[in-house]
Amino acid sequence: MPAIVVAAAVAVLFFLAYRHYSSYLARRVYGADAAFVTPAHQYADGIDFVPTNKHVVFGHHFTSVAGAAPIVGPAIAAFWGWGPALAWIVVGTIFAAGVHDMGALAVSVRHRARNIGSIAHDVISKRARTLFLLIIFFLLTLVNAVFAVVIGNLLVANPGAVIPIFVEIPLAIGIGQYIYRSRSAALVPSLVGVVVLYLLIWVGQQVPIELTGLADALGVDNPRNVWVVILFVYAFIASRLPVWVLLQPRDYINSHQLFIALGVIAAGILVGWNTIAAPLVNDVPEGSPSIFPFLFITVACGAISGFHSLVASGTTAKQIDKEADVRHVGYLGAVGEGALAVGALLAVTAGVAATRADWQALYPDFSTASGGAVGNFVNGVGIFANNLGVPLDLAVIFAAVVVISFAATTMDTGVRLQRYVVQEIAEVLGWQRLARNLTLAGIVAVVVPLAMALLPGGGEAGYTFGVLWQLFGTTNQLTAGLALAVVGVWVVQRGRNPVAVLVPLAFLLVMTSWALVVNLRNFIDDGQWVLAPLDAIIFVLAMWLVVEAALALRRASGSTSGDERAPVPDDSPQRR
């Protein structure tokens, strides 16, 4: 089947879902009220709380949620065939991610734009805030670990990408300083930065850099691990810089790259008319992870990502002008990420291979599929760019540079966010020294994921990367579960029908718990004595979440029984 047909069909489904289902959610489930005074109005300060046009907020929200993660999951999940992966991305986006992202935004808008962790404290229980922090700690730890491995693998596989990627750092700093000092417009310098970056691809191709010699000298088996250490040292330093010095200008360059990459994928599919080489449902080897439950934790971002609730309830909610705008910003943001995931899936099913045999050589087993997933995406996008006339070797480095740029920014921000979380947890525990010491908190934020990224067996065989990715997906789904639990309780307390929220919540909790149990048994059988306790801890968090959600829903149902509804449990501004 031509990839363009799949892309068009998905676009129609997403349009219909936005048009009809998000409208139903806004009216019947979340009760968006045009007369409600949003926190952006009540606390308007022009900085954090700013009533902002929905298209402006969408631009901000989407660039904060669309990144590298929706690429990796679908690229691995193609292992089960393009049908199941596509079905989960589409159904997950429409019935889980849209509900979740929009709900997190809606509940936050009704609670002074506070974040989900803080609202969970009030709506679910006091313990829920601690649960939230622990889940986020593991989520960010795993994010940083898996992206370090992803970048390390790509730098080993694409030595031509090393120069552009590392020159991008001083380039971004230089652009940031130029914009700041000269007070010039940001667009032209950042576009110049993109051009310079792409010129460096040619330089990188002429001067590929490999660390095999250094790895040998250090006695390290896998040069990827040398890159991983370098990346964490870099991320630690970068996370201590003010956001505007490096992160912001690089992200600005990345925002151009996002549009360029999406344009290349769309135009490449259209021009090349690539057909899907992968099977609809892959006949996977015996002993492979089964579709249920593993597909649903392998594709987290792109189908449903709990991380979005952190963005929605932390920053975006403070800018919502009208309550009804949560539909445009939240639901459409989820749809945008789903579209990115579909693009990634098409790259690894239609772009990377022309025949079924070629494709099956890339996806012979789950470990190879996991270890090679991002490389397959890079090669697939390279083919799409090649359709447009870009020489293939340059096109592949271009795709690698795009993915590494995104992943590196995710690591920068991930380490920075983790430092905040470490400080928060330290404050809960009363460890004031850790709570106040940025360097110490930063070291904790770096050392834990570094240790995980260096676990033996990663990258090459793909085994450890595959399970780390699954654990990342699990914690991301648990974050989504916590947010959905908060939203569900809030909906029940308001006397509205919570089915649209509770179904994805139940589905996520069942899939994550199931996957954790299966993996725990496998880890114990395989003698994986680092992964097994990690899995067990996350399982305890999952069970804790199940109990808290059930108790809170029971309480909420009780409080709304009978004719008299409990007052709406928000502490938001008075209604007009």
Binding site: H60, V65, A69, R183, A185, L247, Q248, H308
Partner: protein, 153 residues
């Protein structure tokens, strides 16, 4: 600045359409994107109340001391019917077409393109897509005066 003449304000507010006035955040107050799963979630991961030196810097902006905040509040107070949007320079997906569309009506296509390219200058004060001042050079009352003049022109 003297008392506000609401009659004169009606003349400047015009249609009240979205984005007549745009304040572009200063570069140092930019909000990074970052993407899933490391995007702009500074405020999303810190559920504890109370002071903390890093948290105060990272999550709690001092709106009173910020030039965008001061200008925004002054505009809202003195020109309440005029739509004001606060936008990041990085939000080009909205900023460029919006500025281009508005400026073209006012100054023609070529000048509008120039205006759109310049609109991403951090700290810009834009009225109908045209840059009329810089938050770094104007205090809040001066911003109101400049905007009032430009909107009435």
């Amino acid at each position: 600045m003297g008392p506000v003449d609401r009659g004169a304000d009606r003349a400047v507010t015009g249609t009240g359409a979205v984005g007549r006035v745009v304040l572009v955040r200063p570069w140092t107050d930019a909000r990074a994107g970052g993407g899933c799963c490391g995007g702009e979630a500074r405020d999303g991961v810190a559920p504890l109340a109370g002071p903390g030196p890093e948290r105060r810097r990272a999550h709690e902006h001092d709106a009173v001391a910020d030039p965008v905040g001061a200008a925004y509040r002054a505009l809202r107070a003195q020109l309440p019917d005029l739509d004001v949007q606060v936008v990041d320079a990085g939000n080009t997906a909205w900023l460029l077409p919006a500025v281009l569309r508005r400026a073209r009506r006012r100054v023609g296509t070529l000048a509008a393109v120039r205006s759109a390219l310049g609109a991403t200058r951090a700290g810009s004060v834009l009225v109908d897509g045209v840059r009329v001042g810089d938050l770094a050079d104007l205090d809040a009352d001066e911003v109101v005066a400049v905007v009032r003049r430009a909107a009435a022109a």
